[in-house]
Point group: C2
Chain length 88, copies 2
Amino acid sequence: MSEFKNRITVSIYDQHYTIVGQDEPSHIRYVAGLVDERLREISRYNSGLDTSRKAVLTAVNIMDDYVKLKEDYERLLHQLEAEGQKHD
Amino acid sequence: MSEFKNRITVSIYDQHYTIVGQDEPSHIRYVAGLVDERLREISRYNSGLDTSRKAVLTAVNIMDDYVKLKEDYERLLHQLEAEGQKHD
């Protein structure tokens, strides 16, 4: 992490995007690569959709993963708290 | 969760999408609502972009959240394992 903003150009689904943020360039490239993969995967099964609709469906799928991971995360957090209380 | 597939129509950024999956309709609507919010937020700061680019950037932001939450999740998992070993 740096206090300066990084400005990185990535390619997603054959389009260039300039991403500005405080994250490391390697992190930004990794995240962009994952989105590119997911978009290409959606496209294989929905070739009739335009790019905008494919990208929205990709965002929906990633958000679905996020919400489910968040539930798992909170379950783990409660488990860790209970574990801590058990040995107080 | 049901073994049957649900078929839900949601509205994201004023477009309708039919989402098919085994998740509860309420979960699908919740996830779609979150994506709609994020897409509108991106649009406020990038009004010059077309919808397809806005949607890809939305997907990038959500994936960024996912990757960071995944790191937190794994940190917690290791902590829980260490906690368990401490009291073995």
